[in-house]
Subunit: 210 residues, 4 copies
DNA sequence: AAATAATCGAGACGGTACGTCTGGTCTTACC
DNA sequence: GGTAAGACCAGACGTACCGTCTCGATTATTT
């Protein structure tokens, strides 16, 4: 009982104050943007949220899960797939949208949260389940529509496909060895779709697709 | 003179004790492996190296640059390009070697150092200059040999090419959403080289190419 | 609020732990006796008291005020005036008692605290208010009784009188140029009371005066 | 041999650099005035004197003896006895001169040096031999002249006499519980000379003496 | 209505590590 | 051999947060 776990149910007693919860998440998100995860402190959050440290520790095990929840709450709404008739164009639009997001502070924070997950299994799991997997699932659906329409090979593991598309985006986001701009992402998608090797076929734009 | 910067030159006075320097770097590398960057402490390093804290602060601004230097000193020798007649095979071998390294603790530490670079420009610069850029330079040379031999397209920015190949490796190293094993890397290289889209050509390519 | 001042009142929050306070004062007094103020360290006190350094800094600005409070707490009870019918004998007894105390470690510590007060106004004030003034007040009352009984001149500032009596005691305590023994103190009192100059009268004074 | 003792004689090698010695003493005296003994640091002295720390440690065991020597060098010349035909007036003039000196920074420093002597026997000895004893010797001579002239009692230990005169001065210098001004010193001398008790004789100013 | 129970704020507590300062020692090159 | 420069080990400094622990006050449900 000593580790303060989030209560599953509490039938009696004073109910959880949702205003405090919101204030904490908000303060965390703000500070995360302002100073980054590295310099985030529970005391700072408590002060900014006008809340006692106890209240934070009561509901979140550690800085990581709190930061993560705050991050997810703030960022998740900003990325969503559109769904049109042309799956590859959907994909291209979505990747561009992600790229734009990752260029900024969101990318910086995300990177810190990933690093955090290296040491703490729970943070890692939460990051995957709460952020990565849902987005990959949507992306898979998009790719499957493309396969169904016969514009993509059907002999490759979807997970590998997605890695090939998103991997380089994350790579540049984290290493920052070059710009993560529209042109780069476009070139990258071309490469992923048509390969590096010399071949008779190019991306000859099936008439009407582009 | 109050900010303790690494001296550029010191013609007089007691010279720097290289034994202490080595001990510090060694202790740092060991602790980095043992507990990760997150739980690395200067006090711990000083104790393990048998050195005063001041000696550390005299030569390294902060934990980041020290950890980075220790990391580079320890890891750099472990990755090198072979050079044979078949550049694409060189590439494949090298990527597999990198993949193997990133599967383990090295990957975990690297990921923390990257996150660190998000907030501190100097750490970021040092990571790029000391680690990433040299490796990319070698990789570029390899790709250029392949282009010269006519097995790779010559109309694509080399930086984008390299991103397409290495990006997904790093992606999996950091997110750990799937195994970073030999089969994955092989599949990834095939994809990068031949593309996702449906084409008459497949990898066991035109006779005589391999 | 950044300078950690002793709180005036705290209506809310966890109340101050008096056990910790006592332990700190006790440890300080002990170490003061053992090693003197010069080698007193907050870390040492914290360790001996089984207390965190922060707890000390929370309630005492610096080593000086802590040492002083510990000193006063430990020493004050040891000196008190007796009150008999013969004020001059009361005085003589009290001065001898003080002399005995100052011969030992108490004197040594007191001397260090006085030196400390030279640089820090607050320490100085606290030393005067907490130690010196109360004792001088009592001594004044004693002298006034003597004056009322007609055995002491009534035309001299009481403060000067007291200085004349106690000054030489402190002088020898601090300079240690000679013994601070019973004989010395007796001789001193005779001198103070009857003067240095040649006069017909000697201490076993005119009949009827005592 | 490890404790660096001041060399007694050095028949060979480079002779001691007196310029360095002077610079060190001067810097020490200056810093002593400026920040007091408590915040005096060897590093500061070395920096201000343009001298290596080694050079200081070679010639002085510790901060105390250095500070003391610097103090004596700077202060000694400021106090000297005059010698006239009226010993008691000489005394009065000298005590006033001492009082004036002790009112200022000299007193503050002196007090710190005395405290220092509580813990370190050598410092204490040096303070007595170098400062106190010579001054007391001169004062004794003065008193003896007064005794020879028949204006002072000859049945009292000279040491006690001197304590009775100088003790209260030091007392006020160190405790600062009241002003150390001309009037105070005058009153004090009267008291010391003529006593506190009621007697037919007052200081009736032997004609021509005052 | 009272009792019970969990929440909340405030803030003290024992700790760990921080980055700095100074004390003394040593090592080197120069004079 | 003395000296300036400065690196070295050692250890205390005062601060920032950590995660835990009382408190008194508040807000519900259950008797």
């Amino acid at each position: 009982m000593s580790p303060p776990k989030p209560r599953a149910t509490a039938t009696t007693g004073r109910p959880r104050d949702d205003a405090a919860r919101q204030a904490i998440l908000r303060a965390t998100a703000d500070l995360l943007e302002e100073v980054g995860f590295g310099k985030l402190s529970i005391e700072g959050i408590a002060a900014q949220a006008g809340v006692a440290k106890t209240t934070i520790y009561r509901w979140w095990h550690n800085k990581g899960v709190l930061a993560l929840e705050a991050f997810l709450t703030a960022v998740s709404p900003k990325i969503a797939f559109t769904e049109t008739a042309a799956p590859l164009e959907d994909l291209r639009a979505q990747v561009q949208r992600v790229g734009k997001l990752y260029r900024g502070k969101t990318g910086r924070i995300l990177c810190e949260l990933i690093a955090l997950g290296q040491a703490d299994a729970e943070t890692h799991r939460q990051l995957l389940d709460g952020y990565l997997t849902p987005r990959r699932t949507v992306a898979k659906a998009c790719l499957q529509r493309a396969i169904a329409q016969g514009v993509l090979r059907d002999d490759i593991d979807l997970n590998v496909m997605i890695d090939a598309i998103y991997g380089p985006i994350w790579y540049r986001m984290m290493l920052r060895h070059g710009p993560l701009d529209v042109a780069y992402i476009d070139a990258l998608l071309d490469l992923a779709l048509y390969g590096l090797t010399i071949s008779p076929r190019r991306r000859p734009c099936p008439p009407g697709q582009r």
